[in-house]
């Protein structure tokens, strides 16, 4: 497991988890977006232009990049409002492709050739951001807003009957999720030194969605675990070089057949929670018993 010791991999794992958590926010409202990588791209490009061309400080550029991508997330949500399910996924895929075509033809950021010169991302910054994101998602999912997202995901009709503004909620889900994914994208740009439109294409969006579904999209811990496993898996099989993506694909097929709901589900978390509660209770009883017998 010495691969874990490489700082580059640690940064990539952290960034992937941040981006996947962003998609998790959007998915928690039932919006299975296949365009989130392009939102990460928007955050990456904007923050990169700010630091390289306008000489902004790193932190300010990353934050502004993420906020700007949040606005684009809201713009994504507008055509997505009328669609759901597979249609929504394909629509967001199309929006993502349009963003890619835009960056490919936009000469200011180098077009297809890409844009370079960013730096500043360190392991510390990535994991501080990740901690912030985990806390933010944890609070969000327990807040009334998070509950409202889950209601929209479970049944839109019910959500509306309960008086929830589903339009506002969906736009918020896209915007907040896009913001967090873009935060990861901005960090990615300043870690890689160089970005091009293909760093944020359809494949990346698909991988983000796979991260979320593979680990289990019912809780954020599933997303963290799924991203961790699927980022490390190809690295772990690096010795097999050209076969590692084949293994990746096979693992995906196998998992979807065996556990389509993802590795970590709420039921599993409850079971584990009950297990801990049980052990605690027994320990307490044992301790009481021992202290009684002593006296």
């Amino acid at each position: 497991m010495d691969i874990i010791a490489s700082p580059a991999l640690q940064i990539i794992v952290g960034i992937n988890i941040i981006m996947a958590l962003g998609l998790f926010i959007t998915v928690s409202a039932g919006q299975f977006s296949l365009g989130h990588a392009s939102l990460a791209g928007i955050g990456a490009y904007i923050s990169a232009v700010l630091t390289v061309n306008l000489h902004w400080p790193f932190l300010a550029a990353v934050i502004v990049g993420a906020l700007a991508a949040g606005i684009f997330g809201a713009i994504f949500a507008i055509p997505a409002l009328r669609t759901r399910g597979i249609y929504l996924s394909v629509l967001t895929l199309g929006l993502g492709e349009l963003v890619r075509v835009f960056f490919s033809t936009f000469e200011y950021t180098g077009g297809v050739a890409g844009f370079g010169g960013m730096k500043g991302t360190t392991v510390g910054i990535v994991y501080l951001t990740l901690l912030f994101c985990l806390i933010a998602v944890g609070i969000l999912m327990r807040s009334p807003l998070g509950r409202a997202f889950q209601t929209v995901a479970a049944d839109e009709m019910v959500a509306e009957a309960l008086g929830l503004n589903t339009v506002r909620l969906k736009v918020l889900a896209f915007s907040l999720g896009g913001m967090m994914t873009a935060l990861g994208g901005a960090l990615y740009a300043h870690f890689m030194f160089f970005i091009d439109p293909h760093s944020f294409n359809y494949n990346q969006s698909v991988f983000l969605l796979i991260f979320v579904v593979f680990g289990g999209m019912e809780s954020m811990w599933g997303v963290v675990l799924g991203t961790l496993i699927l980022t490390l898996l190809p690295e772990y099989f690096r010795g097999l070089d050209q076969w590692r993506m084949v293994i990746y694909g096979l693992v995906l097929i196998f998992m979807m057949a065996v556990r389509p709901q993802g590795i970590i589900t709420k039921r599993l978390l409850r079971k584990v929670g009950r297990g801990f509660a049980y052990i605690n209770k027994r320990n307490k009883e044992l301790w009481r018993f021992e202290s009684n017998s002593k006296s």
Binding site: V246, I253, P260
Partner: protein, 290 residues
């Protein structure tokens, strides 16, 4: 201009062939097969191998590509759809993505990531009609695409297998009760869908003159846009939208620049989904199923 329209017609008919595959599978299962583009790519390579390795003529290449792709389609169904629970609509989609990754990377390992050139022995003479230059390859593609599309329409509408397919599409439970073997029909649907993709793979290879293992994703995704523009599950819609997108794309790359032609299917898709979510010829029920 007319020349561009004819080129658009070629591209469009190939898109339509791939789009029909998506549409068939969606119509019967209500699910999207995201490995369809890779099956199409594989079909192209099988065709190429029939021509280069087995030294056979073009009709055999098309036939071989179709059958080879069809068999892969059956494997796909057995691996990615049959064992996966339907209640998680994303699970089969992601499973097919996994299958696509496996097919693509096996292909990269086998032929390398460089594009492979279709041999010139396959290139047939060109015709000059007035100022128009039409190669016989183009005529072949157009003819074969039309033949396959008409054949598919007849198959779905006139044969008993086609009727069984439509019954499963309408309601699998009732179809089962009426004595239709749903599992077998599902498998045949995948076979037919991959059959068309395999033929399209050879056509694209002939048209561009070369094939790369990465072509499946880009063309496959555009065909996915095409099928939604036409209306998921609707065969006529897929053909109409395929021709429309093909024409517009060729016109865009001729008059706006090649970079913008990639944006055409997606712009059209977004406009259609916003103003007519069921697609050009689709019905409302399919939108609710998705």
């Amino acid at each position: 201009m007319l020349q561009q329209l004819i080129n658009g017609l070629m591209l469009g008919s190939t898109y339509a062939l791939i789009a029909l595959g998506y549409s068939l599978v969606f119509g019967v299962l209500g699910l999207i097969n995201l490995a369809h583009g890779e099956i199409f790519m594989l079909g192209g390579f099988i065709g190429l191998m029939v021509v280069t390795v087995a030294q056979l003529s073009l009709p055999f290449a098309i036939l071989g590509a179709m059958i080879g792709a069809g068999l892969i389609g059956i494997i796909l169904e057995l691996l990615c759809f049959r064992p996966v629970k339907r209640s998680y609509f994303l699970a089969p989609a992601l499973s097919t993505i996994g299958f696509g990754i496996v097919v693509r990377d096996l292909m990269v390992n086998y032929v390398g990531s460089e594009p492979k050139v279709f041999p010139s022995t396959v290139q047939l003479p060109d015709f000059q009609i007035g100022s128009l230059l039409i190669s016989s390859v183009q005529l072949l593609i157009l003819g074969a695409s039309l033949f396959l599309m008409v054949g598919l329409t007849l198959f779905v509408n006139r044969t008993s297998l086609g009727r069984a397919m439509r019954a499963v599409a309408e309601n699998p439970v009732v179809a089962q009760l009426q004595g239709v073997n749903v599992a077998r029909i599902t498998m045949i649907t995948f076979f037919v869908s991959a059959l068309l993709a395999g033929a399209a793979g050879v056509f694209i290879g002939l048209r561009i003159g070369k094939l790369s293992p990465f072509i499946g994703t880009s063309v496959g995704l555009k065909a996915l846009a095409v099928v939604i523009i036409g209306g998921l599950g609707n065969i006529n819609g897929a053909m109409l939208a395929g021709l429309l997108v093909g024409m517009l794309e060729i016109l865009a790359s001729a008059y706006l620049g090649a970079a913008y032609s990639d944006a055409i299917p997606w712009t059209l898709l977004i406009i259609i989904l916003v103003f007519r979510p069921s697609g050009l010829l689709g019905s409302k029920t399919n939108v609710d199923r998705a």
